[in-house]
């Protein structure tokens, strides 16, 4: 049980809690406290120093929107955004309640009356925007993975295909999302006609595809490397057992390359999340990128604070996504260290 907990913490990357768990289990406390200080105390101390420096220097810089907000001001903005969210949700609930009461009354007066339920048209809150961003990056990332893994498999297995596609990969890999975006926007506008009941907004599609175009490369390259570096001995095992090529891929090639594929996907998701903010700014997809842009255009006294909140949100979510991918990667590496 205790061993399993430690293993779980290690796999999920929550290594900060390992010393705590060990203390709880009664392992040499002084050693564990030292460990705890090292894994938790030191980073916390560094963070405190950072906050101090920030707080000290922020007040020294004056912009057209007033002084740069310090940590406390940013914290208040974050709380404010959260309050706004709950206020908005309460308003929404109230609206539906009112509507239902009205409709019931109408029904009581005249059972034949037409009853309409109108959706609430409130503003998207900060949490809604976070969700939109996550949804968009996920869509882009899934498309990228679906393209990159099969292509990477082909590259890894066929040197000819690899030689053919390599120049394209090398040319497109370093292209900035800002360069892709106009093209993607125009193509999406030309190809995808939105109507009132369309599944996606154009802005969503543009952002997601831009994420795809920029985040596909790490997965592709890593998959190709993973496949081409498979132990030839294991391939020979498959040959001797006379496995068909699809079985060979399914049972030997893919599992063997899986740790590499996950490393690639982890890098891709990181790139995708970074690219997404820029894409959303320009494509006006109602996520965090648009939030930052709107606040910048808005230019009210608390805009800077809100942008800072967005910066921290973006950072924390990026960190969390990376940790999730790392856990998956650990889970699929079967104890093999890369």
């Amino acid at each position: 049980m205790y061993k399993q907990l430690i293993k779980f913490l290690n796999i999920t990357g929550l290594t900060w809690f390992v010393p705590l768990a060990k203390i709880a289990a009664g392992e040499n406390p002084s050693l564990q406290i030292r460990q705890l200080w090292l894994v938790m105390g030191v980073p916390m101390l560094a963070f405190m120093v950072f906050l101090g420096l920030w707080s000290f220097s922020a007040s020294k810089v004056n912009t057209s929107l007033g002084a740069i907000p310090g940590p406390v001001a940013v914290w208040h903005e974050a709380a404010g955004l959260l309050d706004d969210h709950f206020a908005e949700r309460a308003k929404e609930a109230e609206y539906y309640q009112r509507q239902q009461a009205r409709n019931e009354q109408k029904h009581a007066e005249d059972p034949a009356a037409e009853i309409k339920v109108r959706p609430y048209n409130g503003q998207a809150t900060y949490l809604d925007k976070i969700f939109t961003s996550l949804y968009t990056v996920f869509a882009g990332f899934v498309i990228a993975t679906l393209i990159a893994v099969p292509l990477g498999l082909l590259c890894g297995m066929s040197p000819v295909f690899n030689t053919a596609i390599n120049p394209l990969v090398q040319i497109f890999k370093p292209v900035s999302p800002l360069a892709w975006l106009p093209i993607v926007t125009l193509v999406v506008s030309a190809v995808y006609v939105t109507t009132s009941d369309s599944w996606f907004e154009k802005s969503f599609l543009t952002s997601a595809i831009t994420v795809t175009l920029c985040s596909l490369w790490p997965t592709l390259i890593n998959t190709a490397v993973g496949v081409s570096s498979i132990d030839k001995d294991l391939i020979n095992v498959g040959k001797v057992l006379r496995l068909g090529w699809s079985t060979q891929i399914k049972k030997i090639v893919l599992p063997s390359a899986l740790p590499y594929i996950f490393t690639g996907m982890r890098l891709s998701l990181g790139v995708g999340w970074m690219v997404l903010i820029a894409a959303e700014m320009l494509a006006q997809n109602p996520g965090l990128g648009k939030f930052v842009w709107d606040e910048f255009q808005n230019g009210s006294s608390n805009s800077l604070g809100r942008i800072m909140v967005a910066v921290f949100t973006i950072g924390l979510i990026g960190f969390a996504l990376d940790r999730i991918m790392q856990s998956l990667q650990n889970l699929f590496s079967f104890g093999r260290a890369l």
Partner: protein, 242 residues
Amino acid sequence: MTDIQININNKTYPTATKPSIANLELSLNSNEFICLVGPSGCGKTTLLNIIAGLDNDYDGEILVGRRHTHPKIGYVFQNPRLLPWRTVRENIELALDRPQPPEVIDALLGAMQLTQAQQVYPERLSLGMSRRVAIIRAFAVDPDVLLMDEPFVSLDAPTARHVRELLLKLWQQRPHTVLFVTHDLREAVALADRLVFLSATPMRAISEIIVPIPRNERNNELAIEAFRQQLLQHHPEIKQLL
């Protein structure tokens, strides 16, 4: 099971100046246990890879019965080459070309004393255990020829002996034609019906000797040692190979 005839006229690696194998003729009787004995690096692994169809760049022919086909192969490599992401049982299942009742694998696991370890991943196995899994995987194919490339070379003597005894027991239950490569004469005498001695490169068969020790005497170290000494005395050409 059919008799198998192997004729390799010439096998030269592209980068080499002289052939690795020249004019090698080998006939395998069905269900015979043959040990190939020769110095390290003489091309024994190359020979097995040719028979297994992993190396097709040679001049020669392999006949199963009278037909030119590749025999169905079970191959125990020098390293066990188990797939690290599959459990012992799943590694063996890989060898079955169609789904079979679980008893088939159960019986093999039991014979190799691995029933307890069937859900374990290869990284947790000892050297001896992973060799035994590799042996089961090769038997599970139900091959025309079982190729074994010095499978016990990195094991300590007692473990090697244990695995060897298990192998012989399994082979007696399920007779197959076996081609077992080794450079350990004692091991060869303990296992084989027939010994084939191979020269250094270019490799060819120098002499063939039938081991007269009855199967129920193969655990008898004294009998094996005695025959080994006798071999070395009467066949001085063997001494240079070891």
